[in-house]
C-alpha cells in the first residue's frame, strides 16, 4: 500500500479551507466559487476523458441537464431548487447510457464529434422548447424564501458546499485510481484492442465511467444554476461549456488526479485577471492575452502543467505517476 502524497494534499486542503478567511470580499469569494465549479466539472470530465481517454467534447449535455433541473422544478412547482438536483442526475444517467451504447463503438475523433453533435442537438432543441423557457431560459428565486432556496447574498455558503463536492469527487477519483476499475480505464486508454484481449469488459467499463462522470458533471451544472439563479441554452449546453472542461483538464494534465484542479487554478485566475485589466477597454486584449498564454502552455508543456510540477516539485511531494 502506497502512502498517498500527504503533505501537498493537506496543504492544499488547508489553503482552500482558509481562502475565504483571507479573501473575504464577495468578489474574491465569487472567483473562488467559480474556480471550484470549474475544478468540479473538469475533474468529472477527467474520469472518462482523462483516465479512459475517451475525449468527449459534449459534456455540456450533462452539465445543462443538471443546470435546468433545479430551476425547472422551481418554475413549475415552486419547489426549492435543490429538490431538482436528483432529477438532473437521473436524467443525466439515462442520457449517459443512451449516448454511451452507440457512441462508444466509435473511437478517437469520431467519438468526440458524436458527443459535440448530441450536445448541440440538445442545445438547439431546448432553445425551441417553451416548457423550459425556450431561448429566454429559466430563473430561480430572486430573493430567498428560506434557507432551503440556497439564495444568499454572501457567496460563503456556496464556497463551502462546492468545496465539499470537490473533495468527495477527488477522493472518489483517488479510490478509483487504485482499484481494478482504475487499471481497466488506463488499459482502455493505452489500447482498447489489447485491453479487450486481456479480458477487460471494455464496453461495460466505459459506460460505467461515463455514468460516474455524468453524475458529477450534472451536479456541477445544478450547483451552477442554483448559484447563478439563471440558465439558458447557451450557458447550459453551449459548446464553450464543454470546451472549457476539456481545456482545463488538458492544461493541468488529463488523467491525473490533480490535473484538472491545477488547470482550473491557472485558467480561472487568468480569465478573471485579463478581464479585470482589459475587459473595460473593450479592445479584445482580454482574449489576445488569454489565448496567447494557452498557446504558449500548449507549445512548451503539451502534456499539461502537472507534468511540470512533477519535474520541479521536491522529491517527497511528487505523486507517483499511476499511469
Amino acid at each position: 500500500m502506497k502512502i498517498p502524497a500527504v503533505t501537498p494534499t493537506t496543504l492544499l486542503a488547508a489553503g482552500l479551507l482558509i481562502y475565504p478567511l483571507i479573501f473575504s470580499g464577495p468578489f474574491y469569494l465569487d472567483i473562488g466559487v467559480t474556480f471550484l465549479l470549474a475544478a468540479i466539472s473538469a475533474s468529472a470530465w477527467n474520469i472518462v476523458g482523462g483516465y479512459a481517454g475517451q475525449v468527449s467534447v459534449g459534456h455540456a449535455m450533462f452539465f445543462g441537464l443538471g443546470a435546468y433541473a433545479p430551476l425547472l422544478c422551481y418554475t413549475l412547482f415552486q419547489w426549492a431548487p435543490i429538490a431538482g438536483i436528483p432529477f438532473g442526475i437521473v436524467f443525466s444517467i439515462a442520457l449517459a447510457v443512451l449516448i454511451g451504447i452507440p457512441t462508444f463503438r466509435l473511437t478517437g475523433h469520431y467519438f468526440s464529434m458524436a458527443t459535440i453533435a448530441v450536445a448541440e442537438l440538445i442545445r438547439i432543441y431546448f432553445g425551441t422548447w417553451d416548457l423550459v423557457g425556450a431561448a429566454i431560459g429559466l430563473q430561480g428565486p430572486a430573493t430567498a424564501r428560506g434557507w432551503w432556496d440556497l439564495t444568499f447574498r454572501s457567496e460563503l455558503p456556496y464556497y463551502y458546499i462546492f468545496l465539499a463536492v470537490l473533495a468527495v469527487l477527488l477522493h472518489l477519483t483517488f479510490l478509483i485510481e487504485h482499484r481494478r476499475f482504475g487499471y481497466y480505464l488506463r488499459a482502455i486508454k493505452a489500447g482498447e484492442r489489447a485491453a479487450r484481449s486481456l479480458g477487460v469488459p471494455v464496453q461495460q467499463i466505459k459506460i460505467k465511467a461515463l455514468i460516474l462522470s455524468a453524475v458529477f458533471t450534472s451536479l456541477a451544472g445544478s450547483l451552477y444554476s442554483v448559484k447563478t439563479g439563471f440558465i439558458d441554452p447557451e450557458s447550459g449546453f453551449g459548446i464553450l461549456v464543454s470546451v472549457q472542461m476539456v481545456i482545463i483538464a488538458a492544461l493541468g494534465g488529463a488523467g491525473k488526479l490533480y490535473g484538472p484542479f491545477v488547470g482550473a487554478l491557472i485558467l480561472i485566475p487568468l480569465q478573471t485577471a485579463t478581464n479585470t485589466w482589459f475587459g473595460g477597454g473593450g479592445t479584445g486584449l482580454t482574449f489576445i492575452l488569454y489565448g496567447g498564454i494557452i498557446v504558449l502552455i500548449a507549445r512548451y508543456e503539451p502534456g499539461g502543467l502537472f507534468e511540470l510540477w512533477e519535474r520541479i516539485a521536491p522529491r517527497g511531494w511528487r505523486r507517483k505517476n499511476a499511469s
Binding site: 429566454i136 430573493t143 447563478t228 439563471f230 439558458d232 473593450g282
Partner: protein, 420 residues
C-alpha cells in the same frame, strides 16, 4: 486634477451652506456609475457602440454644453448642479454575454469599485443575473436596453428600464398599419421572420398578440437561428405566402443576408419592416442600400436637421467613432440621461434617495434626445411613456416617415427594394 476637483467641490459645498444652513449637503465630488456591456463576443459591436454613446453622454453632463440648448437636462451646466457640480465617472466592465460573469462583475462593481449605481446589460440573460445582484445589495440598476419582458415586473425594487419593450413596438406597428389602411394601402396579412433568442422571440410574440387584437392575420411566422449561413428557405417561404408586409426581427449579418437573398431569389414584397437592431447597424446601409430601397425600420432616434440638439449629439458621437449614432446605442444613452437626471434630483448618492428620485422621474418629450413621449416609470420600473418612430431608407439614409406629425419625408409604398 484630483485636488482641484476636491477644492471645487468644497467651494461649491461652502456656497450652498451659505444659502441653506438647515440641510447639510452631501458634496460627493464624483458619482460612480458601473456599466456592464458585452464588449467582446458576439454582441460586441452593440456593446462597443453603446460604450461610445455613454462616453459622449458623460461629456455632455460633466462639461458645460450651452450649445445643446436649455431643454436637455444637465447639458448646460458642468457636472450635477444639485450636488455641487459633482462629476460622473464611468466604470466599464465586459461581461462577454456570459450571465454568470455578469453576476460576478455586478458583485465586483458594487463591492470592489464601490459604484453608486449600475447600468447594463444588453443581453437579457445578463440583465437577469446582474439585476438580481443589484436587488440583493439595494443598488439602483438602470436597464438601458434588454428585450425580455420580465426583466421588469419580477417584484424588484431597484430595477428600472428606460427603453420601450416588445409590446410597445408591436402596438406601434399596429397603429401604423391602421393609419395605412385608412390611406387605402393594403395590409391584409403580415409575415414575421424572427431570430429565436430572447430578443427575436420576445418581439415576435408581442407582434403576434397585438396583430390578433388588431385583427390583422399573420400569414406565417418563421423563427430561425441567428447567424445563419443561408436564408433562402425563409425567403422562398415568404415568396410562396405573398404577405403584404414582412417584419424582420434580425441581427446584423442576417438582416444584410435577407436583403441580398430577396434580390437573388427575385422576391419583392410590397413592404419590409426591419425591427431595429440589424437594420439600424451602421454596417447595414453601405452593404445593401442598392437593393433595399424603401425598407422601413423602427427607431426612436432621428439625427434631425442640422443645428438641432440631436444633430449636435450625433456630431459629437461621429467625431468620436466615425459613425452615426444608431438607435440601440441612442436608447442606452437616453436611459443614461434619465439616470443622471434622477441622481441629480436625489442630490445624493444615498441609494434610497436615488431610487426615490428614479420613481419620481417625469421627463417631458422636449427634454429627451429620443422620440419618446417622456420618461416616467411605473411601479415595476418600466418606462411607460416610451414610444418609437418609423423610418424609411431613402437613397443612402433613413428618413423619418411616421408618425405624420414628426415626419420629415414622404412614405414610399410599395417599396422599390432592388427594382430601381
Amino acid at each position: 486634477m484630483w485636488r482641484f476637483r476636491v477644492l471645487k467641490a468644497a467651494a461649491a459645498a461652502a456656497t450652498l451652506f451659505a444659502f441653506s444652513a438647515a440641510e447639510p449637503v452631501m458634496a460627493a465630488d464624483v458619482v460612480k456609475i458601473g456599466i456592464l456591456w458585452p464588449l467582446t463576443g458576439n454582441a460586441a459591436a452593440a456593446g462597443q457602440a453603446s460604450k461610445a454613446a455613454a462616453e459622449v453622454a458623460v461629456d455632455i453632463i460633466n462639461n458645460a454644453h450651452p450649445e445643446l440648448g436649455d431643454d436637455l437636462p444637465l447639458a448646460k451646466t458642468a457636472g450635477l448642479p444639485n450636488m455641487g457640480g459633482a462629476k460622473l465617472e464611468l466604470v466599464f466592465v465586459d461581461h462577454q454575454g456570459n450571465p454568470s460573469l455578469a453576476q460576478q462583475l455586478a458583485t465586483r462593481l458594487i463591492t470592489q469599485d464601490k459604484v453608486d449605481v449600475l447600468m447594463g446589460a444588453y443581453q437579457s440573460s445578463c440583465s437577469f443575473t446582474a439585476t438580481a445582484v443589484a436587488e440583493r445589495y439595494g443598488i439602483p440598476f438602470m436597464v438601458g436596453e434588454s428585450a425580455a419582458l420580465n426583466i421588469t415586473g419580477r417584484g424588484f425594487k431597484w430595477v428600472f428600464r428606460g427603453t420601450p419593450i416588445a409590446s410597445d413596438y408591436a402596438r406601434t406597428y399596429m397603429r401604423f398599419f391602421g393609419d395605412m389602411k385608412k390611406q387605402g394601402k393594403k395590409v391584409d396579412s403580415i409575415a414575421i421572420v424572427n431570430e429565436n433568442t430572447d430578443y427575436g422571440t420576445s418581439v415576435a410574440d408581442a407582434i403576434v398578440e397585438e396583430a390578433k387584437k388588431a385583427n390583422i392575420p399573420v400569414a406565417i411566422r418563421i423563427p430561425y437561428i441567428a447567424s445563419s449561413t443561408d436564408v433562402s428557405a425563409q425567403v422562398l417561404q415568404l415568396k410562396e405566402k405573398q404577405p403584404d408586409v414582412v417584419i424582420f426581427i434580425s441581427y446584423t449579418a442576417d438582416s444584410i443576408l435577407y436583403m441580398k437573398t430577396m434580390k437573388n431569389l427575385d422576391y419583392a414584397p410590397p413592404m419590409v419592416i426591419g425591427d431595429d437592431t440589424g437594420f439600424s447597424d451602421p454596417s447595414f446601409i453601405p452593404a445593401v442600400a442598392d437593393v433595399a430601397q424603401g425598407v422601413m425600420n423602427r427607431s426612436a432616434w432621428a439625427i434631425g436637421k442640422p443645428g438641432s440638439t440631436t444633430y449636435k449629439i450625433n456630431e459629437m458621437y461621429k467625431a468620436k467613432t466615425g459613425r452615426d449614432l444608431d438607435d440601440t446605442s441612442a436608447r442606452n444613452m437616453q436611459s443614461f440621461f434619465a439616470l443622471a437626471d434622477a441622481i441629480n434630483r436625489a442630490g445624493s448618492t444615498d441609494p434610497e434617495k436615488m431610487r426615490d428620485a428614479l420613481t419620481k422621474t417625469d421627463l417631458k418629450p422636449e427634454q429627451l434626445m429620443m422620440g419618446y413621449e417622456g420618461v416616467k416609470f411605473d411601479n415595476t420600473g418600466q418606462n411607460i411613456l416610451a414610444a418609437t418612430y418609423l423610418i424609411q431608407l431613402h437613397d443612402k439614409k433613413y428618413e423619418l416617415i411616421w408618425p405624420d406629425k414628426a415626419a420629415e419625408a414622404k412614405l414610399q409604398w410599395p417599396m422599390a427594394g432592388w427594382k430601381k
